[in-house]
Symmetry: C2
Subunit: 381 residues, 2 copies
C-alpha cells in the first residue's frame, strides 16, 4: 500500500488536534514538535520507529515530509533505505510565515539547504537500483529511496523560493510534493498572499510546480477550474480523509477528481490524520464518501475496488513508482494477510476475507510485507 502524504516527524502527535483547525494546529502542535528535529539523535530514534511501524502496517511506499533540517531529513532517507521501505523523502522548504525559530532566512538560504540535501542524498543513501526483471516503462530501475522537492505550502514559501523550486524541478526532473486547498482560512490567506493568481492551484502553476511528478495533498475545496488545470498538468492529488476530518477541513470530492481525469492516491497525513498506515485512510475515504452520498452531497460512495485502487496502484501512479499491482513487469510489493486482530474473524471465501480485512482487520493481520521482492517486515508463511 502506498501512503502518498505523511509527515514523519509529526508521528509523536498522532491522535492530537481534534479541536483545532489547520493554521492553529500548525502553530500549537506541529511547528513546536518539528523544531526538535534539529537534534539528529532524536530524529534517528523517532524516524526508526516511524518507518518500522509504517512498514508493519503495510506501507510499502511512503511519500514523507521531513522537517527543514538537512541532517535529520537525510537520516529519514537513510532509515527508510536500511529498513527496505520505498520512499520519497522531502526536506521542507519554508522561508516565511512560520515561527521565528523554525523558518529559513530567505530564498537563498532555503535553496542552499535544498542543494545540500540533494548533493548529500546519494552519499547518505547509497541505494543502487536493483536490476529488475523486464520492466520497460522507465520507472522501475529507480533507487528505492529518492529525494522529492517539498515546498511546504504556498503560504510558507516566498515567490522567489517557489520559482527557484519550480526551475530546479524542471532542470533535474525531480518530483514535488506540497499541500493545496485544505482549509478555508488557509485558502483565504493564500488568496491574500498571491492576489494575482486566479486560484490556489494557479499559484503553483505560475511557478512551474504543477507537473506530472507533483503530489498535491488534500485538495478539499478545489474549484472546477482548478480541478481541470490539475488534470491538464497531470499532477496527482493525495486524498487525506482522516486528516480532513480530524482538522475539520472538509470533504474532498474524490469522484469529481477521478471523473475529471485527476490521478488520486490516499494519504495518512500523520499527524493531521490519526491512523497508522493506509488502511485507516482507506476506511476514512469510504466513510466520508458514503456519508456524502446518503446526505445527498455526492452521487454515490466509493466502491471497494475504487478504494483499494486508491490505496495501491492509484497511489503508486502519483508517486511515480512502478509497483502497486501484480501486473507482469511491476516490482513485487505485497502483504501477506492472515487473521490475528480481534475484529477479523477467519472464514469465508477469498473475497469475504479480503473485505473482512479491509473493514474489520488491522496491522496485526499483516504477517509479512515485501518491497521490491524482499521481505522487509514480519516473516513469510
Amino acid at each position: 500500500m502506498v501512503d502518498t502524504h505523511t509527515h514523519a516527524p509529526q508521528y509523536p502527535n498522532n491522535g492530537l488536534g481534534h479541536s483545532l483547525q489547520l493554521l492553529e494546529w500548525l502553530d500549537e502542535l506541529t511547528f513546536p514538535l518539528e523544531k526538535q528535529f534539529s537534534d539528529d539523535e532524536y530524529a534517528r530514534e523517532v524516524y526508526g520507529q516511524v518507518v518500522r511501524r509504517n512498514l508493519a502496517a503495510g506501507t510499502t511506499t511512503a511519500c514523507y515530509y521531513g522537517t527543514l533540517h538537512v541532517p535529520a531529513t537525510l537520516t529519514l532517507a537513510e532509515v527508510a533505505l536500511e529498513a527496505g521501505q520505498r520512499a520519497l523523502v522531502g526536506r521542507c522548504s519554508m522561508d516565511r510565515a512560520s515561527p521565528p525559530d523554525y523558518v529559513e532566512a530567505d530564498c537563498a538560504a532555503s535553496m542552499a539547504s535544498t542543494h545540500e540535501f540533494l548533493d548529500l542524498f546519494p552519499r547518505f543513501c547509497a541505494n543502487t537500483p536493483l536490476p529488475l526483471n523486464g520492466s520497460s516503462n522507465g520507472t522501475s530501475n529507480q533507487p528505492l529511496v529518492r529525494p522529492i522537492l517539498t515546498p511546504r505550502f504556498a503560504l510558507s514559501c516566498s515567490p522567489p523560493l517557489l520559482a527557484a523550486l519550480g526551475q530546479l524541478a524542471e532542470a533535474k526532473h525531480l518530483p514535488i510534493q506540497t499541500h493545496i486547498s485544505e482549509n478555508g482560512a488557509e485558502i483565504a490567506a493564500v488568496r491574500k498572499a498571491f492576489p494575482a493568481a486566479p486560484h490556489y492551484a494557479g499559484v503553483y502553476d505560475a511557478f512551474g510546480l504543477l507537473t506530472p511528478r507533483t503530489i498535491l495533498a488534500h485538495g478539499v475545496h478545489l474549484s472546477p477550474p482548478e480541478v481541470a488545470l490539475i488534470a491538464r498538468r497531470g499532477a496527482g492529488v493525495s486524498h487525506c480523509p482522516t486528516s480532513n476530518v480530524n482538522l475539520n477541513s472538509g470533504a474532498a470530492r474524490v469522484l469529481a477528481l477521478l471523473d475529471a481525469g485527476v490521478r488520486v492516491g490516499l494519504g495518512s497525513d500523520c499527524s493531521g490524520g490519526p491512523g497508522t498506515g493506509v488502511l485507516p485512510a482507506l476506511r476514512g475515504a469510504d466513510a466520508m464518501s458514503r456519508i456524502l452520498a446518503f446526505e445527498g452531497r455526492a452521487e454515490r460512495g466509493l466502491s471497494i475496488p475504487e478504494l483499494f485502487y486508491l490505496a495501491t496502484r492509484g497511489g503508486a501512479e502519483i508517486a511515480g513508482v512502478d509497483a502497486g499491482s501484480f501486473e507482469p513487469g511491476r516490482e513485487f510489493d505485497a502483504l501477506w494477510i492472515r487473521p490475528r486482530s480481534p475484529g477479523f474473524w477467519a472464514g469465508g471465501d477469498t473475497r469475504a476475507l479480503f473485505e473482512k480485512w479491509l473493514f474489520a482487520g488491522d496491522d496485526r493481520d499483516i504477517g509479512a510485507v515485501w518491497v521490491r521482492g524482499r521481505c522487509v517486515s514480519g516473516a513469510p508463511p
Copy 2:
C-alpha cells in the same frame, strides 16, 4: 465502556456487508449465520470468543442480541457471566417476515420461548448481586447479567407479539431492546405493515414498548414528533455510526436527540458495524458528526467530552446500569490504558495521552479491564 447495541452471533461476519442495504443484508448475510446457532456447541465456541474479545477491547457492559434460540442465548448469558462482563442478554422475538427456517411459528410459540428463556435464565446464570458499597439509587444490586426483552424489530414481530412483549415488560419491569428507523426501505415497510401508526416510534409506543428501560438502536431518520415522543417516554437511543455507514443507512442527528432530552449511548452493532468494541463507534460518531458539520448539515460536531460521555455514562444510563463514571457510589468499571499500539505514541500530559488513545490507539493499549471492581481482562499494573 458501554456497548448499548451489538449482535453477538453476527461477530463472524465482521467487515462484510459494505455494498448492501439493511434488508438485503439481513437476508444474504445475517439470517443464514444466525440460523447456525441452533447448534449449541457452535454457540459456545463463538460466544466465548465474542465475550473475551469485547472485554479485551474495553466493553465493560454489553447489550447483546442473541438469536431466537433459547439454549444458545442462555449460553451467551452464561459465558458473559463466567467472563465477568456486565451484560443484558436478549433472545430475539421474531414471528414473521423472516426466512421460513429462521422464524417462530406464531405469537404463542414466541412467547412460550421467551418465558422459557426468562425462567431458565437464573438457573443457567446464577449470578447473585454483589453487596456493593453504598450505592443508593437502586440499580446497583442488580445481577451482573440480566435478560432483556428483544423484539427484533417491528417488521419481524406480529402485532399480538408486540403487545404480549409490552405487557410482559410492564408486568416484570423488564428492559427492552429493539431497532428503530435505520433505513429508508425498512421505514417504508413499517409504514405499510402498521398503517394505523403515526410513525415508526408510534408502533412501539402503541404496544407499550417505549419505556425508560427501552433501548432503541439507530434512530437514523426519526422525525421531530418521534424524537419528542421518545424523550417523553424516557427511552434511550443507541447511536451506531459505523453500522449506519457500513449499511448505507444514514446519519442519526445525535445533537438533535441530546437537545430534545433523549438519552443516547453508542453501539458497535456488530456485524452491521465492523469495529470491535466501543472505540471504533466513538470514532465513527466523531467523524460522522464533523462531516455533517463542515458540509453544513449540522450546527457543529460532537466534542471530546460528549463523545466520551456517550461511550461511558451515556451508555450506562440507557442500559440502566450504575456504572460508567467514577462518581462515588457507582460500581467500579475501569480500563487501564498504556501505549502499545503502533499509532499511540507515548508522551504528553494526561489530557494529550487521553486524546491520543481515543483517536490513535486501540485495544492493545488496554492493559487491564475491571468490571464491578474485579479485573476481568489483562493484568493490573
